[in-house]
């Protein structure tokens, strides 16, 4: 029935592979939506912060406060308003990505060499064209570094949303908590934890791959 020590049951894992797969997909989906929406909002706020410098301090101040609020408290704030829903989970998860993403976006754009911007202007690039065709691509490595941190952080936080009826793999951790005295319980806690960490590592590596593909010039330079 159970493995030595009564701490982990392989049998439970084998019998619940479908379940584990479904929760993993749900976990990825919750993460992808949060990071996707986070990137869009952060990009908008970063453009504002770059255009009007004085807004950078209040933007980081506000997103910094969001970042400081413990996740359980943030979800608890939202439940009376948006209920035990996916929306509640996503609002909370998006909130935590903002500070990380905005900081890296602004630092990335600021890090583009002035000489490059100057020569782009000389070639006739202005305004939006300059931003999207020159500055943004050159800032990509720093921006993607932010996306990596935001994604890994979000994958961890998704587990807590089990307490508000979502959770992805956190579902197993919560159910394991209620059965902690039995091997079925500890098995679920371990499965939830291990698969969630593995997911974070896999997504992080995938994003490294995306960075390589999106910035071919940096690999070429490294190879030269």
């Amino acid at each position: 029935m159970q493995a030595a020590g009564g701490f982990f049951s392989w049998e439970w894992v084998v019998n619940h592979l479908d379940d584990i797969w479904d929760r993993t997909v749900q976990h990825l989906l919750l993460t992808a939506i949060a990071v996707g929406v986070g990137v869009v909002i952060s990009l908008a706020l970063s453009i504002i912060a770059l255009r009007f410098r004085w807004t950078y301090a209040p933007i980081t101040w506000f997103t910094g406060i969001l970042y400081t609020i413990p996740s359980l408290a943030l979800f608890a704030f939202l439940v009376p308003v948006t209920g035990l829903s996916v929306l509640t989970a996503e609002i909370g998860l998006v909130s935590y990505t903002l500070l990380i993403l905005i900081r890296n976006m602004v630092a990335g754009i600021d890090g583009v060499p002035p000489a490059t911007v100057e020569s782009a202007r000389g070639m006739g690039y202005t305004g939006r064209g300059l931003f999207f065709a020159v500055e943004l691509p050159l800032a990509l490595p720093v921006i993607i570094a932010g996306v990596r941190i935001a994604s890994v952080t979000t994958i961890g936080l998704v587990t807590i949303t089990a307490l508000i009826g979502q959770g992805g793999l956190g579902f197993f951790i919560l159910r394991g908590l209620n059965l902690f005295y039995s091997p079925i319980g500890t098995t679920q806690i371990i499965v939830g934890t291990v698969v969630s960490v593995a997911l974070a590592v896999a997504v992080d590596l995938a994003l490294v791959g995306v960075e390589r593909l999106a910035t071919p010039w940096s690999t070429r330079r490294a190879a030269a």
């Binding site: 970042y67 704030f77 590592v201």
Partner: protein, 244 residues
């Protein structure tokens, strides 16, 4: 309550205010004051023990330049480990160790989560001290011990203090989850509120937890500014923090 769908936000906030106004919610074992005391107690204990266990080895290893790659790996893996999972995982562990539920699983989980980022931040701080400065100190005839205690440690002190602040804020956040494994603390209001579907208590608990986290951040930030000389201040900006 959750069932008052059309009740309106104003009425809801009125109920929250009334909850805070009721002295019965402040005193006694399950009152705000006792829960706050429990929360601060475990946070202070976990932060203090983590500091003692993480900072001296980090400073020493960074001084000797040992384990740099390990440090980077620990930061990355640390971020990937969900704090919720660790708190829950330490429940059966604590029981098997004969330490029971409540304080110990929470405390051990807090140490497990606070030590790695504290270690890596302090390590990075010391390793980041200007090599010319270290070279100059040796040139002046300082012993190895003097370089460590009189140059590297003071120069890295802003980063080390920032590492302690970041860890303390994370510990406040994670201690909230202790309510899931039988510990008290302010998380009790949120977890118990969820259990009986009383959103007034849930919201009030969230307000208390969020306030404590922000007060901790601001208060320790103020301590840092008083202690750290202005010339070293900019060095504390690059400290890794983790949401819990």
């Amino acid at each position: 309550m959750v069932d008052e769908e059309g009740g309106g936000m104003i009425e809801f906030f009125g109920e929250v205010a009334a909850w805070f106004g009721d002295s019965a919610n402040w005193f006694g074992t399950s009152g705000i004051l006792n829960r706050l005391r429990e929360h601060i107690q475990i946070t202070a204990a976990a932060t203090a023990v983590s500091t003692i266990m993480a900072i001296p080895p980090a400073v020493w290893l960074a001084h000797r330049r040992i384990g740099g790659t390990l440090v980077v790996a620990v930061v990355n893996i640390g971020r990937a480990i969900p704090s919720f999972a660790i708190v829950v995982l330490f429940l059966p562990i604590s029981i098997r160790l004969g330490l029971g539920i409540g304080f110990w699983p929470t405390f051990l989980a807090l140490l497990f989560l606070a030590i790695p980022p504290m270690f890596t931040n302090a390590y990075t701080g010391v390793a980041g001290v200007d090599p010319d400065l270290v070279e100059a100190s040796r040139g002046m005839g300082m012993t190895d011990r003097e370089v460590l205690l009189k140059v590297e440690t003071p120069m890295a002190s802003p980063v080390i203090l920032a590492a302690v602040r970041v860890a303390a804020v994370q510990v406040v956040a994670t201690a909230t989850l202790g309510a899931l494994v039988g510990w008290g603390g302010l998380g009790r209001f949120i977890v118990d509120g969820f259990a009986v579907r009383d959103s007034v208590v849930v919201f009030a608990g969230a307000l208390l937890v969020a306030s404590l986290a922000i007060v901790t951040e601001v208060a320790l930030g103020a301590v840092e500014r008083r202690v750290v000389p202005s010339t070293l201040r900019s060095r504390s900006e690059h400290v890794e923090s983790i949401v819990a």
